[in-house]
């Protein structure tokens, strides 16, 4: 089982800077937007993988990598970049579960940062 600690899920420099740059209510809104992105993009990834839609899969992975990078979710970004690289040997069935674990860990870490 792939396990991620709260601390390693986030790049403290990026996430900490964001928390510092933005007022708390704005930071909360951004976490909420990130959650929406995660939910939508994970769904798009799974659907594209199931349909064998490589282009859709890579596009969703690219967006997910971008969203993750924006909040400093480094682990999630790494997994998303693996998914968006069409040369990588790992099948979606292998990458996706790992990606979801990273997503959950990133969210927990971000919420911890707010509180």
């Amino acid at each position: 089982m792939h396990k991620v600690s709260l601390m390693s899920a986030l790049d403290p420099e990026v996430a900490g800077q964001l928390a510092e740059d933005l007022p708390p209510d704005v930071f909360r809104t951004i976490i909420s937007t990130f959650e929406d992105d995660l939910s939508r993009l994970a769904h798009e990834l799974a659907e594209a993988a199931q349909a064998g839609d490589q282009e859709g899969y890579e596009r969703a992975a690219h967006s997910l990598a971008g969203a993750a990078a924006a909040v400093g979710a480094t682990g999630l970004e790494r997994e998303a970049r693996i998914a968006m690289d069409h040369r990588q040997p790992e099948a979606p069935a292998v990458v996706l579960p790992r990606l979801l674990v990273e997503a959950e860990a990133a969210l927990r870490a971000l919420h911890a940062l707010i509180n």
């Binding site: 704005v26 809104t29 967006s63 990598a65 971008g66 969203a67 924006a70 909040v71």
Partner: protein
Amino acid sequence: MPAPIPAARVLLVEDTPTQAEIAKAMLRDFGHDMRHAETAGAALEIAQEWQPDAILVDLVLPDFSGMELMRRLKAQGVNAACIVLTAHGSVNTAVEAMREGATDFLLKPYAAARLRVTLENALEKRALRQALDTAQTVLRRDHFHGFIGASPAMQAVYRTIESVAGSKATVFISGESGTGKEVAAEALHQASPRRAKAFIALNCGAIPRDLLESEIFGHVKGAFTGATENRIGAARAADGGTLFLDEIGEMPAEMQVKLLRFVQTGQVTPVGGTRAEKVDVRLVCATNRDILAEVQAGRFREDLYYRLYVVPVVLPPLRARGEDVPLIARHLLAAYSREEGKGFTGFDDEAEAAITTYPWPGNVRQLQNVLRNAVVLHAGGTVTRAMLPGLLLHGLLLQGAPSSAPAAAASKPVGPSPIEPLVVSERRLILAALEHTGQDVLRAAALLDVNPSTLYRKLTAWKKEG
């Protein structure tokens, strides 16, 4: 805390909501007016309609790439500073982005401070570029309202007119006859906030002295013999606009007193009337005389001089305008050719040389007359030297007095004198004759009505002088 940067219009082109929300929050915090497009197509539409100062462009977009977006923005004439947002910090990406017109690029994720500095630099660079473009446009103007000319002397005139146009200050235009004093007065009016109101021009030298007061201030019915109707006068006709008094140096002394009172009070009393009326007029005066000399000679009131000579505009004679001469000549030839239905296309080398080297004592007005004459009398094609009047070919000595001769007799004209040392004129005439005859000394001597040996002697002497 960094100093606030001036509010700008910033368009964010970003399709990932998380990234967009972060950028939007930062931009709002900077105080910018901000819009957001999720696709390149939407960005093109917004940019066209909104004309942003800066555009933050994500490279990967759902419809087409950020690079392609910058290409299309450029093609549409959108003049915004583009900053590329990229997750890949490769040199190739940066180089390609710059090649497509990006001002800078920003590596994602970015902190607010980095975005702020990058944006500030891009906006500053854009402002500098715009200021430079404006300055270059202003410095290289080859026309200004009714003027044609790109010479440094005329650029200075354009700048003065522009600077003073917005004010109500009285402008005093001086320059030789034919230099465009009325054109300058009209340019002042057109460049001013008064442009929607009347521009009234009055030539003080052309109006009989008994009628001048009535022409300027109007009269009431029965004020004098022949005053069968009320007449509004130039000052009231120009209310809210500009009153141009040309040849002010010709104004009789008794009229100068009345003009002084008008300038001091802004009130007009028509001839035969009793009630003064306030008018809002911007006064522009002109003369081809040396007005200060007129004051010193007691012919022009000193107090009026100081009231009128607030902002001087000195129009250079055509001979001091260098490359403006062929520029104006080409412009006039095209205009007259069009008006007269002739197909003139330009000047041959000899004609252009003659036009360029002639000193034009009558200034632009003389050039206009010469070219009108050439167009009217000839069928079209290229203007040759044979189509130009002889005086252009034989130099200053044959040209006669300047067209402002009567005024010049009364006082010294403004600007450098057209008279030059005899030896200089002689040399120019001889060289012109030689050029005209294809360096044929015998024919040149015949044209000049001198013995060929005189020419040989002169040429030998000049050669020795180097």
